[in-house]
């Protein structure tokens, strides 16, 4: 190791801006994920397979699927997000990048927000894009498919944001996966209710703007509060390791 580098010892005052740091976190997560595309594909395959179980396990009748379709898709999406949450901080925790993240001189909750958004782009967004195909397979009609995608688009970021809290709390614990589900599923219920309820209302021809606005309010609430809880939970989990 050469030491020809002369190191200046000026006290560093100028810090990297928070936006730059957030972007760096976001880009790194995306880059890492795309180096292992199979991991990206797995939640999607899971989503498709769970949806397939319903016609096989309950009934392939058009009337049933039309009635239950939005619920089936929402439950499947919820489960596949849940499945992917364990990875959100686990790898970073194991290789030590999480320690370095916590020690970055920016507000931690904003860096956590960047990570949650990256998680959504990698899991939630593909689900939204895949939903129309599955929507057709469960015989949802034209307008319902569009509304379903819209609810998923607003709802899945909430799932990522709330899930991040659970992932941070269970970091480094044995059987973290099951525990994570226990903690998070009750908190997902409102999103599920409004997600499916809105689609059902749309299929009956009722106006849905109000429900969509309410889901938007959920998203705003999750965006403002969840990163704080996740950041606090991360600090606690790291303190314990």
């Amino acid at each position: 190791m050469a030491t020809e580098f002369t190191v200046t010892l000026r006290s560093p005052e100028v810090s990297v801006g928070t936006a730059t740091a957030m972007k760096a976190v976001f880009v790194r997560d995306l880059k890492t994920a795309f180096r292992q595309p199979q991991d990206l594909l797995n939640p999607l395959l899971f989503f498709v397979m769970v949806v397939t179980l319903f016609p096989l396990g309950v009934s392939p009748e058009v009337s049933f699927l039309q009635q239950a379709g939005s619920g089936i898709l929402w439950v499947a999406a919820l489960l596949s997000v849940l499945l992917s949450l364990d990875h959100l901080y686990r790898h970073d925790f194991d290789d030590g990048t999480l320690e370095q993240l916590v020690l970055q001189p920016q507000p931690l909750f904003l860096l956590v927000l960047a990570k949650s958004l990256a998680h959504w782009v990698l899991t939630g967004l593909p689900l939204v894009l895949l939903a129309p195909v599955l929507g057709v397979m469960v015989h949802l009609e034209g307008n319902s498919v569009a509304v379903l995608c819209l609810t998923l688009l607003i709802g899945t970021p909430v799932l990522s944001l709330i899930g991040s809290i659970g992932a941070a709390l269970t970091l480094g614990l044995r059987s973290a996966g099951v525990l994570l589900s226990l903690l998070i599923i009750p908190l997902y219920i409102p999103v599920l209710i409004f997600g499916t309820g809105t689609v059902m209302a749309a299929s009956e021809g009722a106006p849905v703007a109000g429900q969509l606005a309410l889901m938007g309010a959920f998203l705003m609430l999750a965006l403002t509060l969840a990163p704080f809880a996740s950041a606090a939970a991360l600090r606690i989990s790291l303190s314990n390791s």
Partner: protein
Amino acid sequence: MWQIFHKLGSPKWFFGIASTLMPWLLWVGVALLVAGLGWGLAFAPQDYLQGNSYRIIFIHVPSAFLAQSVYIMMAVAGLVTLVWRMKLADVFVKAVAPVGAVLTFLALFTGAVWGKPTWGTWWIWDARLTSMLILLFLYFGVIALGAAISDEKSSARAVAVLVLVGVVNIPIIKYSVEWWNTLHQPATFKLTEKPSMPAEMWVPLLLSVLGLYLIFGWLACLRMQTEILVREGRTRWVQQLVQARGD
């Protein structure tokens, strides 16, 4: 001011206060509960619609009521844990979480028993029962997380974060479930809506609620004392206490 606060947080101090308080909590609580239940079950008038079966509300309503307040108390204690790092707050959360879960279960169970003669089925996806079921899930989460983390301080703080996240969600969950309920079962009979309940009904109900609160206070003190003895087993005052009791 700060000294008082610290004193309040001292397990030793609490242990003493709790010992003097507990007999009062227990006996007044039992007296109130016996009076409330006796009055409610034996003397209050019949409901003109449901006959005698409504009388289970004298158990159902107090336990449901308390189950929800216990979660809110836990959230307050969680905030204290996070902000002031007070040990006693965590002792409280750990001690009462199972009690809250049992109360929630009791509310669900009595609700189901009530449902049988009222709706003809043990379980109905009524808004109130469903919310209670989700509350039970929240309690399970708190208990499971607390048990999974071995380090006492980390466990205290992680549970505190979870309880606070839960308490923010409770109103949202309640609202969503109520909306969901109107979507699926318009105009069903609701457990709580008791328009113009006569005094002969609500006074005993109030007595039972108060009685159950006091008994809960006693149980909380008892469980907290046990928890304190386990945690502080190595300190001198606990060892002296154990010796004194042993002699």
